[in-house]
Symmetry: D2
Subunit: 284 residues, 4 copies
């Protein structure tokens, strides 16, 4: 399909849908999907629109340009994306490969419209998986006092490879504030959060000792406040007393794979809108 996705948010006001929908109809666009959310608490309007542009009466560029006047009059923030597209995505890893594998497999199957630019690791463990998939692998030394230089190197790679989305697929490094700021809203992390959350070393042992009956994982945008960014997706599984810390890790992996796969999919399909510390998600 030749098309566009429009994401927009603005202060709530009368007639927004009419104005947007009329603009699309005036130039013979066909809205194939329209998702909207009015946050009555914060008086904000959010929408995601898919438009079939096959029969558009103007050039797509002109259609996009012309929206400026309407957008500004609504005091909106908005974004158009052309379809079909593939989002240029870098995957950051350390040793663990289950999230990387999941991303590779779903990408190959066409479930996620991304083009993986490279895999970047601070350990060499995932190199062979990357290379078998025909992807460049960058080994970055981040140990000890190399950490800051390492993040500068990653920054360079992301710029050189024109990366639009960075996925932390079990990347075991805390990101510096400047990095989070520079790539704000473009970094997705998977957090092996036990529920209730366990802080400190060896969370699986803690979960075992506490006898939780559910474990889970959280996929979220990264902000400088690590693990507290807007949540995109969460997943849980039932566990029992006989599950050892090792079993909990195994079941946790399944939660992580599912949550990160859905989280990326929502992001690259423009199904998320960040509002302060939360993410509006229009799931598919």
């Amino acid at each position: 399909m030749q098309g566009l996705i429009l994401k927009i948010d603005c202060p709530d006001q009368h007639g927004i849908v009419a104005k947007i929908a009329s603009y699309v109809a005036d130039y013979a666009g066909n809205m194939t999907e329209f998702s909207q959310f009015t946050d009555a608490v914060n008086e904000k309007f959010f929408a995601r629109v898919e438009i079939d542009t096959t029969h558009l009466s103007v050039e797509v560029e002109d259609f996009i340009d012309g929206f400026n006047t309407l957008g500004k009059s609504l005091h909106a923030t908005w974004h158009f994306r052309r379809l079909p597209y593939k989002m240029r995505t870098a995957v950051l890893v350390t040793k663990t490969d289950h999230c990387l594998n999941e991303i590779l497999w779903r990408t190959k199957l066409g479930e996620m419209p991304i083009e993986i630019t490279s895999v970047i690791g601070n350990r060499d463990t995932c190199r062979s998986i990357a290379e078998q998939a025909g992807l460049p692998f960058h080994l970055i030394d981040m140990d000890g006092d190399q950490k800051e230089a390492g993040f500068q190197q990653i920054r360079s790679i992301l710029h050189e490879e024109d990366v639009e989305l960075t996925v932390l697929a079990r990347f075991m490094q805390i990101l510096p504030d400047w990095f989070c700021s520079e790539f704000g809203g473009k970094i997705i992390n998977i957090h092996h959060s036990f529920l209730p959350a366990f802080i400190g070393a060896n969370p699986y042992r803690q979960a075992y000792e506490r006898g939780v009956k559910l474990i889970g994982a959280t996929c979220h945008y990264v902000t400088s406040d690590l693990d507290a960014g807007p949540i995109i997706e969460q997943e849980v599984k039932r566990v029992q007393h006989f599950h050892t810390p090792k079993d909990l890790m195994r079941l946790g992996r399944d939660c992580e794979r599912n949550a990160i796969a859905r989280g990326i999919r929502y992001h690259v399909n423009d199904r998320t809108i960040i509002q302060n510390n939360r993410a509006i998600v229009f799931p598919d």
Copy 2:
């Protein structure tokens, strides 16, 4: 909130959303929720719109009347409902009371905007529950050759009490075709369907013998083809080999209570649109 819910479906065509939203905006209605679905396979458009009419520039009747011209031009089927409202609902039972109890409790709590007109039973078992809740209870004899007369009696009650929705809350009688036709789209049933479905006597014993790992329940609209009407909601639970037929019944009850409660809620909030043999549901 003073408001309206508009449900509409029509052949898919360009500019529908713009036309509907503009109509609302033209008379200073405020769309607080807009859910839409384009069925590309069948080329149909479906929408549900919630409109805050507080600042409407015309009388609500005139707003509703005026929509006729637009609706007809779209070759649409549509329906307006005024908010707040409570749907007049009759609950039909036999012996089992768990679905009835669930409905009573959620109604009392304000979770479902219904007004229960009466409880109708072909056994006397649920009389005390109905009466404790301050509701009329009609005992209808449907045994043997009284069945047809019984349904005629129920029909009379539904008309006299001005019933808009009939809920079969474990009502163990097969409805005659004329009854299904007369109240088409206004009868909701809960089916204790095991998955995969077991037909014939004693389904719980069959499920036990087959060793299913999931059981469930299905809430659906009633058509003359019993248990095959449009599905509104389904619910499942995990089971294991040690669950006896009696345990399966217990767990099945929980599935039924949840599925029927959500199914009624969706219906009375106009979140369902029947399309042939399926139900479009905009969940909340």
Copy 3:
């Protein structure tokens, strides 16, 4: 069934199952269910045994007495309960009635072998529900400086009514340490925990602002460290951005009802064994 449930835990050692099972077989008891868990991390053995005593070759008292020698030789803690039995249970409430209703309904249906001795409230709201169910209702003033006296009063009632289990069914009072100690392992609470947990006032508003995708509830034993006692059962539900704090409360109620019902059922069927800060649960 005439029978016994044996719960036992002891340091792990060779031959425990053989010794227990042989003891039962020696006196013609029939083990109908045997659940066991060896905690390799802490080198502890836990078991729950259901014994059909119909053909026992000795008196039940003598069977129970005779186990002393074996139990002591294993350095075990153990407990026998005679079947059929109903556990004498008090339900403590404040204003909210959904957990109380769930308990009453499941008790009536025979799903939970308890006998409710009375409902105790620090508000009068649930009186009519209790009385309609034919149960005594005690109103206890716990406001301001009446709190300590109030707990003394509850203590007296629990003793007078020979209560074995106290259920906090949305009882909005923090229990004094002496109360937790005196009834240790015999108080079950339901915690409206959002996941991740939100502390402080108005957790539902906080969950909304944080945009969680899952909410839940936790049923646990009460210890003096409130909300941190051994977890018996947890329940979660998916939520989305459009769920208002009020919706989250509604969905949270469903989590609470399910979790508390299963938690009580496990406890009264002796399916839980407390080990330090966690509960071993043999679910049915």
Copy 4:
């Protein structure tokens, strides 16, 4: 761990657990896990026992041999397996690779104690995946009248490679009766069953038209009555009206991957016992 798994089933009778546990204890075996199920309906006893043989007072062979006398006296069927072990497993595929990938990944991670002997396909599509994983790939022509010969060829491969378990990982061929009989209880299939089941061509289109709210997959043992063998595991996911047949296939794949992975894991860890048309499963 040096150890044994014992699976046993026999007519229910007094003292079974005592006899088995005493036999183990008499020769200084340590039961680390004991799972038991008494089927009161059919008067059958089932158990799975894990035994640590580190300190066994006799040779393992002698321990296994000596059990004969007890086993026969109980009129039991039983089986010992030595730990650690890896089950020799063949994976049969056609074109689709998601189940194969899942099996390869979990095997590599050590989640499933299997050794994949080869991948066998009636299409060449999965060859590269197999070869990248260092596994032999056998292409078998089964088209038209080659079908019977094809199954004879597979039979030869299974015998030559000493295969203990055959997994149909989306193998789109109906097995001949003789094949099912010869490898009875040693073939696991994943069935893309929609719930309720749809028969005939294009089940995903049918599910879409019916508007089901849940889809699922079933992992089961293969018997000559295809898709009706004992169920090992089932998995479901929620779907909505907007999910196209293609979406349903995507979500169905996730169900299939999860169900087959758990199903295989249960089988190779001897956690399943087939009883007539159902499988007793002691999950971990």
